[in-house]
Symmetry: C2
Subunit: 83 residues, 2 copies
Amino acid sequence: MKVRIHVSLKPGVLDPQGRAIQHSLEGLGFSGVNEVRQGKLIELDVDPAVTDDQLDEMCRKLLANMVIENYRIERVAQVESAQ
Amino acid sequence: MKVRIHVSLKPGVLDPQGRAIQHSLEGLGFSGVNEVRQGKLIELDVDPAVTDDQLDEMCRKLLANMVIENYRIERVAQVESAQ
């Protein structure tokens, strides 16, 4: 079973990487981009026996830094993962 | 308008970072994790006038390395972004 974990910086936390991307987009001539934030996307392939609580614990213990980051767990339906 | 861009390594491309995460999860006592892949999540705040073609071009020119990475563009509905 596939699980996607989206890790993003909390609002207000400085994101120099996102800033650099925004400036580069401007430099390439793209206008209308007001803000860019860069986060992490972690895709796990786990046994169906793994519970939501366990996934939550993985995020808190390792995958996200709870001081500066938020996370969101998304279980990917089998239909989508088969595409 | 919020846009999320998911950048992930193409299948078959070696992902040492994902491997390291997998080993760390095992070391922490989590079982049942078969594979881990790490990608990037780029959140843009763009003007509504920015078209899908422009977003596509941003990905191809800057945000994703088309040789080793795939990308997926997701426009976030206003309802969700207001949460």
